[in-house]
Symmetry: C3
Subunit: 364 residues, 3 copies
């Protein structure tokens, strides 16, 4: 416990934890103050995400690579998963899908691009393991194709299409999860020597003891779930006040909030010239969401959602995921980076953000 | 002749030749039993394709690379060509195009992916000549763009569009065949030293004497043509019985049947760590179909078809060819392979197969 | 002045300067003879473009790389810019956009492809700096995405869409110009050692003295502007006479005319085995147009156009730019070239040209 308090004292990001009780108080006192609740819940989620991330890495460090990889898959994107589950239970499938697509695009373009830029501003040229980047890019490419597939059914008439889309989505979800599992088997077991220097679990901080890590994991997950509920309820109303389109909120705001903690790790690693870790966090997180979180949400929607959710994304979202994947593939092809590579990725993200910001509400 | 019988005794695949007379008997006795005829014709085509493939390679081995290359182009995909010609004469252009697109996608994803997987299960990491893979991928990319071009005319009104589409298709067909010819000149004449280790003609079996090879070639071609007629007539009816969409039949069933023999060669080469041959057969066959068989069918439709056939494919088919080409390009970029690379390609193929299987019939 | 006359005597292309006065005479005498005026203006623009190009390079050679790069950006594509400005003032936005897209596609496919082919016919295999090619391809990819973005707004209803498209176009234009500036900072300042052998300014001819260069620059710019006015006025009428679609004229004819001089330099460099320069001219020119000329035209349309111009291109144009960019990326990936690589690029261009030639007029 004292270790936790020491960590909080040294990490200014964690001071935001003070907002966690404030959110719950505000929600009790002013349940209609959506804008306030939105801002408070964002401020509260960020430090909770940082704690979750550190706790997961501490557990992973203890359990070895194979179990650690699985843990990273299930817990590394826990914030995104909890937010998405809360939206799923509320039947807000538009928000679920926007946050999935947004998380993929934000990790691939913004997190990777900013890592390259920040690393490149300090180091003239940086190298990293391109085998690993290529595997992640390949997984992302597969996931994008899976999300493109349901649109092929669009020409059919309505009744047949809905049934076929749901069947296809379940099949695609199973295929993606299987591929993700085989990919872990490949990179952590049969061919681990090719993925040498990518150490996702080692974030440069000393790991916590396993007891503390598990306790933090349990406690913080509950807190994130509770705060996420406030966030999901308030975000659409708040968006109207700020004049933001729902697409912009789901793609950009939710994605940046959910990935805040991982970004802190990725950027800090890039500035220490440990670009392997930055690339691993950014692309690994994106492929986790695409091949694990998204398919799990589709399957879970049959259990906890009001109606089944399919894997059909609106065309612009699939296009953005495709462009993000191709950009990452082209950029990581050489295994070398300099600051301008980061600028290129960030500019693609900026183009997407501007487009979503200006998207008239009815079009989303 | 005794050589032929010896070959048949040693190759269990060729025992299926027994089904050839059975097909013709069944068609005489029960011309309405479409499902039976479909199953029998599939069982009969597979060994005939294997014989054709071996005979072609024997002729190619005798005539040297330049003529051998041309022979491979015209004869290597003879099964696909005969099936397509039979469908062309029957005016079944939907089936022709589906089998062309299906053959390209099946060779690029399934044959290449299964070769990588089967080779990778036995060998930890495999290397192959990426210059050759890159040339084939480039040719496939060009063909995909050609098949995409007619859709640019779609906005015009009906009459002008049909005329323009036919003119464009003839132009594209001539351009593709010319590129294919120049590609052979490049890889077999002017720059053959770059394509060193790809030996498509050497399938690991001893070649037949030229007389036997030519006789088999002539005899088997006639048999394939006759069986294909049964196959084309029965496939659509049988598909209804099995609940298969026409798109699934054309893309998956016909493509797998047509390429059965080449697959046997490609898989066996991959397990012997001769990945150059596997990649050569898979991508070489795909580019032959795209740049030679398909354009020739367009041009032939003016002679033997009831109406001219254009080179316009439905959007989903072009998308699949594009995705298959890009996948092959990305995957062969490094010239190295391991089992998971095969899994990725097979998963893309599985996504396509699932989508086509669920495609409501009216949508195709 | 005698230097200029000597240059004209030695360069047969410049003998076409005789057509400059002929154009103005013809326009005075026969203002309705559109076909004649079109042919004459094409013949007059080509040598003027060559003079402009040489004058720009002479100025750039004197001012050093940083300023020279900026000069190349503003002046290297001066012919295209002047033609586009003339069309912009006339409110012919369709022609402006077609000439932008056409210039990008023509430089990327035709100029690069013909350089590879011509170089490859004389030299067995050629090498060039792929870092530079990769940067240009990355910039082109970004620009293509920017031109794709406005189509995401297409689903909105008309009024909201127009306003959003214009806001987005201005934002995209600023982002592209900023990226272009940062790209120059990267390649000319912070990481110039990576871009060693690309010497765009050194076209193999001796530079002029700065006074002559500036005088030619000023005088010829005025002449190009005047001839362009004749060209823009006559091109659409002449196209009808020749049976050419407006899309073909904008994409192919205007683009080839505008780039004639640069092509002469690129082809001559390729035959001298200086492929770095050819690639630099072809891709550098394409990215200049995409990231500098096009955005500047959008911003200028608010000042000099009858109404603001947006950055929305019709889908076929964006597809062509995307295919051209991907082709260039794949082709320049290895940093090596042989004649068949040029054939592949030229075939893609031929496919585009055939499609545009057959595009029914109403569809454009």
């Amino acid at each position: 416990m004292s270790l936790l308090l020491k960590e909080i004292r040294h990490n200014p990001l964690l001071w935001l934890l003070a907002f966690v009780p404030v959110v719950f108080a505000a929600e009790k006192l002013k349940p209609e103050a959506y804008t306030l609740l939105f801002v408070l819940s964002v401020l509260a989620i960020v430090p909770l995400a940082a704690l979750l991330s550190h706790a997961t890495e501490s557990v992973a460090a203890k359990t070895g690579d194979a179990v650690g990889g699985l843990l990273n898959a299930t817990l590394g994107n826990l914030t995104e998963l909890v937010i998405a589950l809360t939206a799923l239970r509320a039947g807000q499938y538009m928000l679920v899908k926007a946050s999935i697509a947004g998380a993929i695009v934000t990790n691939t373009l913004f997190m990777l691009g900013a890592s390259f830029l920040l690393g490149g501003l300090r180091h003239h040229a940086q190298e990293y393991n391109r085998v690993s980047a290529r595997l992640q890019a390949g997984l992302l490419f597969l996931a994008t194709i899976a999300m493109l597939a349901p649109s092929a059914l669009a020409e059919a008439d309505a009744t047949a299409r809905v049934a076929a889309t749901h069947k296809l989505s379940v099949g695609l979800a199973v295929a993606l999860i299987a591929t993700y599992g085989l990919g872990m088997l490949f990179s952590l077991r049969t061919h681990r020597e090719f993925f040498g220097s990518v150490k996702h679990a080692d974030a440069g901080e000393e790991p916590w003891p396993i007891g503390l890590a598990l306790a933090v994991l349990a406690g913080v997950t509950v807190l994130v779930a509770l705060v996420s509920e406030v966030f999901v309820e308030s975000v659409q109303q708040a968006a109207k006040v700020f004049g933001l389109t729902p697409a912009f909120v789901g793609f950009i705001v939710v994605a940046l909030v959910g990935a805040a903690a991982e970004m802190a790790s990725a950027f800090s690693a890039a500035r220490k010239d440990r670009l392997d870790m930055s690339v691993g966090i950014a692309l690994g997180s994106a492929s986790q969401i695409a091949l694990f979180v998204a398919p799990v949400l589709v399957l879970l929607s049959y259990v906890i959602g009001p109606t089944p959710m399919d894997l059909q994304f609106w065309p612009a979202a699939v296009s953005m995921m495709l462009v993000a994947t191709i950009s990452a593939t082209l950029v990581t092809n050489s295994g070398r980076s300099a600051w301008f590579v980061g600028v290129l990725l960030l500019m693609v993200y900026l183009i997407f953000a501007m487009t979503l910001y200006l998207l008239p509400p009815r079009a989303s």
